[in-house]
């Protein structure tokens, strides 16, 4: 058996340089880097746009004192609730109106978001009516309804002779604690968001890498076949050397592209604070606080393993195609497997502890995206890491063996219909 190197290096080097020097590569990488930079800054952009726009509600009571007291408490309640309720910083402005008909016209014209009319009925009870084009389930409508209820209760209390000081005590928030079932669970509520987003990002990144860069390998093999360079290559080097060189060269080119995108994304994440301060006047943006950043170690290892596995098989399938046009057809099964892994991982995001998710996450075709996903959203037992790694090594060895056989037979298969049968025949035939 001939040594894998240095010929695999020569092949990989040529493959890498041709790929990286191509114009397509430069354009796509630049485009992806821009996207990578933009995504971490997007939330700030949304806040910037949303922040400018306050919900303005007209208030009509007919009675000046009721109107001013209701306006003050409504504004206080609505804006207090908003700032404590999460990252959304929607503001409410309550504006007293004199002529209800004009205010209704303003609502219809979109100048006002709604008109809240308050009237005191026979039993001194306050009743509210909101004139708006929003549905009853709209977030703002719900908030206004809650605020109105509080105003109404405060009104009842004052009529019952309870002074405002006592009333504010009545409305003071209560102590409310949460005791987790598993105190070691690494997912306090506030870190679930970033972890979830990161897990999703890893799933998408893995899927794209496997499909895109795998396809590169297959196309580059088919290209050599159709340009008939292949015959010279297999005279000069062994199928294993060529196969390894292809996978390494394209893998390195893919990693280069990924490094550019990830670097841009990191710049975006680091710039979040500064940009938010400049544009919003406050610190903000999604932070990675509470995210288990150790996930990148196993992700890196399994990502490389998964890429090698897919790329090796892609090379084998590519060698069966007689022309480049046949590549999508021939590599169909690989794309199906990749898609299956993608969807499984995506569904798994919501149920990271389901039995089938745990089982699938050990299988080499799926582990690169599903194991880090489970690590971020739940837990992965040490034995699961070990088993998944062992399976990955076994599958890789098997894939290399099968792929080298298909490749050495496939590269000389010209003019035959590219099909699964041709592949199987290629494996059976000795050289």
């Amino acid at each position: 058996m001939r040594r894998l190197f240095p010929n695999a290096w020569h092949v990989a080097r040529r493959e890498y340089l041709m790929r990286v020097r191509s114009r397509t590569f430069a354009i796509v990488t630049a485009l992806l880097a821009v996207i990578g930079l933009a995504i971490p800054l997007l939330p700030i952009g949304f806040q910037l746009i949303a922040g400018d726009r306050a919900t303005t509600i007209g208030l009509y009571a007919g009675d000046a004192s009721l109107e001013s007291s209701a306006a003050t408490s409504l504004e206080a309640i609505l804006n207090a609730g908003a700032s404590g309720g999460g990252s959304q910083t929607s503001r409410y402005v309550i504006r007293a109106v004199q002529v209800p008909e004009d205010a209704r016209a303003d609502v219809r014209a979109g100048k006002l978001d709604g008109l809240l009319s308050i009237s005191r009925g026979d039993g001194q009870e306050l009743s509210f009516d909101l004139y708006t084009d929003q549905r009853a389930s709209n977030q703002a409508v719900v908030a206004i309804r809650q605020a109105a209820t509080q105003v109404s209760i405060a009104d009842r209390l004052s009529r019952a002779g309870i002074d405002p000081g006592e009333a504010s005590q009545i409305f003071a928030p209560t102590t409310f604690g949460i005791t987790p079932v598993d105190p070691n669970a690494r997912h306090p509520e506030e870190s679930f968001g970033p972890s979830y987003l990161l897990a999703m990002a890893l799933v998408i990144l893995t899927f794209m890498a496997v499909i895109t860069y795998g396809q590169w390998v297959a196309i580059s093999v088919a290209e050599e076949k159709s340009s008939r360079v292949m015959e010279l290559l297999i005279t000069a080097a062994t199928p294993r050397q060529l196969l390894a060189g292809k996978v390494l060269g394209n893998g390195a080119a893919g990693l280069t592209q990924y490094a550019a995108v990830v670097a841009a994304a990191l710049v975006g994440v680091l710039a979040q604070g500064v940009v938010a301060e400049r544009l919003l006047g406050t610190g903000g943006g999604a932070s990675l606080a509470g995210v288990n950043l150790w996930v990148f170690a196993p992700f890196g290892v399994f990502f490389v393993g998964g890429f090698l596995l897919y790329a090796t098989l892609y090379a084998a399938f590519g060698s069966v195609a007689a022309r480049q046009e046949d590549v999508p057809q021939v590599t169909g099964p690989m794309i199906l497997v990749g898609m299956a892994g993608y969807f499984a991982a995506f569904i798994g995001l919501t149920v990271p502890d389901a039995g089938w998710v745990r089982a699938l996450s050990l299988i080499p075709f799926f582990s690169p995206s599903m194991l880090p996903m489970r690590m971020l959203l739940s837990q992965v037992a040490p034995w699961e890491w070990g088993l998944a790694a062992a399976l990955m090594v076994i599958f890789l060895a098997g894939a290399l063996w099968v792929a080298a056989r298909i490749y050495s037979a496939g590269v000389l298969l010209y003019g035959q219909r590219a099909s699964l049968r041709a592949v199987l025949r290629a494996v059976r035939v000795d050289r």
């Binding site: 001939r2 240095p6 010929n7 020569h10 092949v11 040529r14 041709m18 050599e224 340009s227 008939r228 360079v229 292949m230 015959e231 010279l232 290559l233 297999i234 005279t235 000069a236 080097a237 000389l412 000795d430 050289r431």
Partner: protein
């Protein structure tokens, strides 16, 4: 010790591509593998190069099985030319040389030397796709020899070349032979074979129908060719028809070509002519041409095959 192809058989499914093919090539010689399209020449070469494995039989060079030989033993010019079109000439050639372990500096020097020899030094830094087919073919030849292989295997090296380039390539062949290399090439251009080859094998439908030195192969035909010209219009040669075993194969403008069976002394024709009072202006005894040898063994001329062959390759 020579290159020995020993009774190799290769089937592709139901098709028997090679059926017990044997021949041997002496080191330092130029050997022609002749045969119609589909006769099995390419398969045979691929088996010699160990990129295909035979069902049975073996190939050895200097006593070692081809499966055990280092890859740089062989230089290969495939019939289907293929290079990386988007790479520079110098980069493509250095890449192939590197696969054979040739350092870039040595490869660069040799490439420049050969580009000069082929009179295309200005193409060194051009992309391969910018070159004409003929020039690409010369690049392909350089790719086959940069690692200084002991044996050069070339599949239809002259196809698609204009006469000037054919001449350049022939000179390259002689250069390689003078360096002690062994050259094996396939073709169906008989004049080229006559000019270059010391020995040949003719393959038809996967079998070797005849093999050996060109001289032996021609002698084995068991007849000789006589070319005769006399003063006069040549119509007075009716007496030739009455001679035993002698057949007129063609009436040319200025001579008549005759075939004489093995046992007959060709000089008797000269005597007969003088007896008939002819004034002989040309009398020539020759071996039959390889064209005739080919027709004799394969049953049809190689040229027809060549035309069909070209017609099947519209890309050239």
């Amino acid at each position: 010790m020579s290159l020995v192809v020993d009774s190799i058989t290769k089937r592709f499914g139901p098709v028997v591509a090679l059926d017990g093919v044997s021949f041997s090539v002496e080191p330092g010689r130029i050997f022609g593998l002749l045969g119609a399209n589909g006769a099995g020449k390419t398969t045979c070469m691929r088996i010699v190069l160990d990129i295909l494995r035979p069902d049975s039989g073996s190939v050895s060079w200097q006593g070692r099985a081809n499966t055990a030989l280092p890859r740089n033993t062989w230089g290969y010019l495939p019939e289907e030319r293929g290079l990386y079109l988007r790479m520079k000439v110098i980069d493509v050639l250095c890449f192939f040389a590197s696969l054979y372990g040739v350092p870039v500096r040595d490869a660069t020097r040799d490439v420049e030397d050969w580009l000069d020899r082929f009179r295309i030094p200005e193409y060194r830094d051009r992309k391969v796709e910018e070159l004409s087919k003929g020039n690409q073919q010369k690049i392909q030849f350089i790719a086959a020899i940069l690692h200084d292989p002991a044996v050069l295997i070339m599949d239809e090296p002259f196809i698609g070349l204009d006469p000037v380039n054919v001449q350049l390539l022939k000179e390259a062949f002689f250069e390689m032979r003078s360096r002690g290399k062994t050259l094996v090439f396939s073709t169906h251009q008989m004049e080229t074979v006559e000019e270059l080859c010391e020995s040949i094998a003719i393959i038809d439908r996967g079998r070797v129908v005849v093999a050996g030195s060109v001289r032996e192969v021609k002698h084995a035909m068991g007849r000789q060719v006589v070319r005769l010209a006399t003063e006069g219009d040549g119509n007075g040669l009716a007496w030739l028809d009455r001679m035993d075993g002698v057949t007129i194969t063609s009436h040319r403008q200025d001579f008549v070509e005759l075939q004489v069976p093995a046992g007959t002394d060709p000089e008797m024709i000269l005597h007969a002519a003088m007896d008939h009072g002819e004034r002989v202006t040309r009398f020539e005894i020759a071996d039959p041409s390889l064209e005739e040898v080919f027709i004799e063994h394969v049953g049809r001329p190689a040229a027809v095959e060549a035309e069909r062959h070209l017609a099947e390759r519209p890309d050239r």
